[in-house]
Symmetry: C3
Subunit: 653 residues, 3 copies
């Protein structure tokens, strides 16, 4: 099943006088909002003191919302345990890498490894499920809120230590196996028992990289287990309603694919301007897109979470104006609150839910805009949301996002591995993946993101597996059977799952697929780059490869940069955007993919017979009508700054 | 009462052989020094072991100093409790924000919240009062030394936690009131009792801003209470003698107005070169004024502490040469030790006291210059001090600083609030205030600093209330009755005292005074600025305001920058120095204020019928004689680098 | 005794299947390797559980190595105590300056102050000595590994506190003496007993500098004591075999001269590319020498460790390719693994031992190259090592490095003192020393490094004593009797050993040697410099000196920069490289020293009748044959990038 494109909003009835609820619900309906998320931070109102359950106010608020036709997504409040919970479980608080317990006074003050709190989380979830499951306005559930936000995936607590030891015992069976798998003979790091293993913080120098990686794997598994506990309860009551979690941008501390094994729909919280502001993009990009956000970042996450969500995904929180949490918080260009929503729908979003209805005049997020100002007057996004609602109707856009012809594998183990062992300061798995994504997308090419458990690439013309830490059995199978063009490297397959160099060295493929061995790595400072013959440069990471493949590109020093063997291409280096673009262009030409000629700053995605153009630039642009389009249903060829144009696609054939 | 301009010096008899005292006192008299501060770091010599009081040496040193005509300021030694005190009260040591106790081995190793140490502080104060009050050389007292120096205002100790909870209980009455006032429904931060409230450190993410602000208010109150305990003892013995504290430059962690409620005279420690070196001024300013100090910073503090001291103020420590405590410690330009003293007297200082008599060859400050070198030879400032003493006599300057025509409100709550919630990284209350100060002063205009408890602006032509966090009742009254020109904003009145957005939004004035609402804030990175039509740029902070006022200035995007309604002007943005200058110029013209045409680097202040010019530039300059001057008593129109010229003012009318 | 130039390698038999050992040993012999270091990280294999000694595998590996003609250096494994040791002695773990215990999971996890661990270290050393001393392949011992690496010299533990107090009691005798020597009257820092003294961390502001310095001295003494415990055991068994330690580059936290009092040979671990990468050299130097290393840094350490080792020294670990531990780890230029070895031999190395034989595919250093790749194929350095071995034979180079005509005093107390009290941020003793070293070396002049215990400079033409903290009796004696040219300053002699300013001020020499007094210090920011008349600039540190000496150079402000009195020259400032070069050139001319005209990037050193030229540049160069050369035995006048040329010196006539 799926839901036709619809708007939503995040609402906090507990923040406002009950007499305001009715008018709020009515105005939401006027805007065209269908989905209203409530409850996810309200534990202290649901249970003011231990065991004293107070849900009548929630039911009344759902009554009011339902009366105005809204469907309510109820959030479990486990991201904000009340203060009394800390009295019950003082050790539920997580410990940071410096050994400090992080206290009560904001949010997410719990340790995923703390099993008694996991039970409390299940208890309140069961209470909500029991009390609200039959409410006619109930439209679904959200588990917790933004797992991992504020660096909360990792805890260096006694609870985490205990859990980690048990997890290792279960993974490796015997301490001898662990010592062997980890190579603990190095530096006499051999353990006599699992009880001797410590967490990888506060060491003299770097831990064994597999020690660090296994701790990340363990921590990720705790997030998944935490979510599963809630999911099982919620689904038991209402198998028909979706259980959703709201993920984030560039938060990769846990494996989202694993967590989504107990989710029906993935959602994420899209704050394009805040995300760019807190990113490590260069200042010129931050300046150019200060009021728009990075033009490829939201799209990347749309495509990622579509895969994470097994095809179903929402925006649970959509930025409506300035946020409060970055170092600087610019006002969006007029139109961006509309553009972001349209782009999400183009990538297949079912619901785009603005955060939040009314700006709160108090507490931490008082500078965060809403659809309403604190004085209940409409903020600029109010009108933009209204416009989106009307345009959705007008355009009739709906249906599934079709399978793309290009796919990129995105893998969380690789994120962690290259953080543990960058070797070149600044080398980042995610940045490399996103650069390839942007290079294809610049030509208007739709892209799918694939998980490392993908067993077949059938149907794709081009698949990239960039900077993959270690082969999974599934990817080996997919590679072996793939008939399209494959782009690998750098670093792809350079490690075993136990973080060792494989016996036949990276990329560790059968020589009949790719006869190449990475003999040596040259990692260089960020202020040095090596020109590549024909254009672009390599930077940070360079491999010297022994190969019988064909050299497609080489650098000015004669070092091969792109090697091919049949339709398998191996990239030996990380490159600047110009190089990544050349490589994408090369593969597009080889695979004979159709492209669009897009003005600078304009991006596009097709869905259900429509092509949606969005203009991330601060200047207007003129679209070139593509041969497969039969006119515009929203906007036109002249697309203003922050504008949206929707073209109808001619029926194929 | 007040004291005619006089010189002083800081002296440490305990550092030198007693046989040197006589000669030192005689040479001080030769220089023309009247006031000698002693004792403020000598607790281990006053009480070498617990209860073993040894003050004979102090009395003998006062005898010697008195014999040579000096008045002695005795400092209470509470900034340096002896090591044995820590054995008595191990928990008197403060705890930093990371949870580490800061130990013995330097100075200021006590926690303002620690009540037993506060009693020890009262005890030693009583002992000094009892023993020294009747000494004929006694001229006054200094309490402690540099409250808050080295970040010692805040402690995150159990003592602070206990005190904070009691302070909150007293402020809010009930936990329900606190939850309501703080908006703790947000993120389920509601408390069931005051005993659950924690200090705002070591949290997962930002605390509630009012939580952070109230902790700063609480901490400030402890400094005031600490001072009051000493003041009450000292005044009980000798109501006629001034009790003084030596404040600092740009240390705003506690409310100086509050502390000064139990002071007779404010003083401050002026190290212009060190202060510039440790400031966050840009490198070009640091380079340009490396050997002089920021040309407006000392003056600003002179004017501030004149108000803090209820009209009476001193320089307790005046830089005489290179200091030791900045990252780099340049030698002053020849003449600066004279210039700084003259500038202080021009702003109304009663005493300028050089720190220190002789450079100590040992311990932490061995690289800090004195009037004498470590080998007792005169250092360059020796002659400069002598010159000042002679010039004071020669000029006959004396009397009160007259009330200025321009005033600026400076408020500590605002300092703290915008540190807690800058919203734009780099936005600082103090910097904004000082920019306005400098813009008026560039035209030779005298300025008064006002506290937020000012009830009337009568007598001023122009008053600025920049970046005021929240209105006080007094300022509302002053604004309502003011007939001059008023400059407000940005951010002025944008919060309630409980750190919420006011119901009618900022600036939260009656529409008949100023009909304007800040609808939205646009905060931008420091590397972006928006040109204003006519000159200057806005940066960091911009407000979008809904108003019926007149637009006086707007930026290139058409956003109003300066709005007026009658004589009330509202500035919607923070600006660069060019913009702040334009705004000052505009108001000067509107208010028809007389101005001086000053060469670059030259500053001036008038006192008691004289106008003092000081040249902070490293080049000579030529003064333009002003119409109201009747010749020079010190120097002349040609003012050398680091020079001083004093003009006599013609009698008015 | 000494050893004729030979190659070595670091080998970890415990990392590889025993069946590989034989082939490994044979291939080492093919390369021409003579010395094989083993064992230094293998404690968990020597004693897998407490008391269960397993050395049979070591003996078998020594049998295999010996069979192939190798001499084995056995390392004591004390840098990597096994995990069970931490169960026995939980408090053996060091505590960092923030108060955190640093745990097990990497290496060097022990506290030099922890006496029970020092006994464990002696115990395992005794066990190795007993078991292996008579093995015919044994060639010597290495104590521990890289003392101080990863900042492990300092610990702020209870054990360190206890040791420090006892050390102070022993040094000062009475608490009164300590209070007097430290100047503790300042800020009431006087102690009543040694038990009150704390470690100088976690203070409110800076500790008394002598407090900080004495803690460094104490900590250094613990390293020496730790080494002595092993040395005594090893020498007792085999007085004929050398005991060696492997020191590092720019690690100056302990006094290497003191540690070497119980060593027969000094060695160091030379990673030129990694050392440059982690250094604070400017980015342009890092870029220029990215694949070569700083062209003077290795040579400086060769000369330093020759003195530390009483004339005998090795390279125990020589970089063979990219390392893993810097932020970026570039591949060396082809030839550098040969060049570095040749340069070491030219400076008198007995053995250059590559680290490591085979790249380990697992654990922390899996990205660190070896002579073999992880798949046992030769890495590039394999052939370069082979070439060096052949060239050593071919050239017949051997014998002692002759005494140089220029010497520079390098002193660890000065390193620590100026870290404690830089006064100008960025002023560093070591950088200043190395700048003088490089300035003389640029002309092909050989240099000796001298310790501060040098009693005579006889035989040298020029001696520099730069930035010396405090005179030792020995240096005073050497200066008084020296007949050559002496370069002192800045800061030289500016403190007493108790970190006070001397009574006659710096440089504190008898006026008949040097009549000068540093009256004042002007320390300036790194972005300011003062031009010196004739070329070069001063930066960071400038002294104003009262002198009757002759002014040789002065700056644009007329401040003397170089002062002379007879053959004693005093430099009043730190300078840029151009100034340091001018000063070296001036002294070279005065002393009439012979110079070579070297192309940029080329460096040279003479040994035993040969002059070795090495080209650190990435471009080829042409050598100018010197008059004292009689042809080339390796290479020729055309020296390629990373090339080596060895000239034979004509017999002195
Ligand atoms: Zn959020
Ligand atoms: Zn001070
Ligand atoms: Zn090493």
């Amino acid at each position: 099943m799926s839901i036709s494109p619809a708007l939503g909003v995040c609402y906090y009835p507990e923040h406002w006088p009950e007499e305001w609820w009715e008018k709020d619900a009515a105005r939401m309906a006027e805007v065209g909002i269908k989905y209203v998320r409530i409850g996810e931070f309200a534990w202290s109102r649901m249970e003011p003191t231990p065991g004293d359950i107070k849900l009548a106010w929630m039911i009344r608020s759902m009554d009011v919302l339902g009366k105005h036709g809204h469907k309510v997504i109820v959030g479990t409040p486990t991201a904000t345990p009340p203060r009394w919970m800390v009295d019950k479980h003082p050790d539920m608080l997580a410990v940071d890498a410096n050994g400090n317990r992080k206290g009560f006074g904001s949010r997410r003050h719990y340790d995923f490894s703390h099993l008694p709190f996991r039970e409390e989380s299940a208890r309140i979830t069961q209470i909500l499920a029991d009390a609200l499951s039959d409410h006619p306005a109930l439209g679904g559930w959200q588990t917790d809120n933004e797992y991992g936000c504020h660096g909360t995936t990792y805890s260096y607590s006694p609870a985490a230590l205990d859990g980690f030891r048990k997890w290792l015992a279960s993974r490796y069976g015997s301490i001898e196996s662990l010592n062997e798998a980890w190579g603990n003979v190095f530096w006499s790091m051999e353990y006599n028992s699992f009880d001797q293993i410590e967490l990888p913080n506060l060491l003299i120098t770097d831990p064994n990289p597999i020690h660090a990686l296994d701790f990340r794997r363990y921590s990720s598994d705790q997030v998944a287990a935490f979510n599963k506990a809630q999911y099982d309860i919620l689904k038991a009551k209402r198998p028909d309603l979706p259980v959703i979690h709201n993920f984030m941008s560039r938060y990769t501390e846990f494996d989202h694919y694993d967590v989504a094994e107990t989710l029906d729909v993935a959602s994420w919280d899209s704050y394009p301007i805040g995300h760019l502001a807190v990113s490590d993009e260069p200042d010129d990009i931050k300046r150019q897109y200060m009021r728009q956000g990075d033009p490829d970042n939201a799209a990347f996450h749309h495509d990622l979470y579509r895969t994470v969500g097994h095809g179903r995904w929402w925006i649970m929180e959509q930025q409506p104006g300035p946020v409060n949490w970055a170092k600087f918080n610019p006002d969006p260009l007029p139109g961006m609150a509309r553009l972001w929503a349209w782009e999400a729908f183009a990538h297949g979003a079912e619901v785009v839910s603005y955060f939040r209805w009314r700006q709160a005049p108090f507490a931490q997020e008082q500078m965060h805009a809403g659809l309403l100002r604190p004085d209940s007057e409409p903020a600029p996004a109010y009108e933009e949301a209204l416009q989106v609602a009307q345009e959705l109707k007008q355009s009739g856009i709906d249906g599934q996002v079709e399978k793309a012809r290009v796919a990129i594998v995105f893998d969380y183990d690789s994120e962690w591995a290259w953080q543990v062992q960058p070797q070149a300061d600044g080398f980042k798995h995610g940045a490399h993946v996103r650069d390839i994504y942007a290079a294809f997308r610049k030509h208007g090419i739709d892209i799918d993101i694939l998980s490392p458990k993908t067993k077949s690439f059938a149907g794709y013309d081009v698949v990239a597996i960039p900077a993959l830490f270690a082969w999974t059995d599934e990817l080996r199978e997919a590679v072996a059977s793939f008939e399209g063009y494959l782009l690998l490297g750098p670093r792809t397959g350079s490690k075993t799952k136990n973080f060792s160099i494989p016996a036949r060295l990276g990329p560790d493929l059968s020589p009949n697929l790719l006869d190449a061995k990475v003999m040596r790595v040259d990692s260089i400072p960020s202020y040095v780059s090596i020109p590549v013959k024909g254009g672009g440069t390599t930077r940070l990471w360079r491999e010297k490869v022994e190969t019988r493949g064909e050299v497609v590109m080489e650098d000015n020093e004669g070092v091969p940069v792109l090697i091919s063997q049949g339709k398998i291409f191996y990239l030996t280096a990380s490159g600047d955007r110009a190089l990544m673009q050349r490589i994408a262009d090369y593969l597009i030409a080889e695979a004979d993919l159709p492209v669009l000629s897009l003005p600078a700053g304009v991006r596009t995605r097709s869905r259900g017979g429509f092509r949606v153009y969005v203009n991330y630039s601060a200047s207007p642009a003129t679209l070139n009508a593509a041969a497969d389009e039969s006119g515009y249903v929203i906007g036109g060829a002249e697309i203003p700054a922050a504008g949206v144009t929707v073209a109808r696609l001619a029926k194929v054939g």
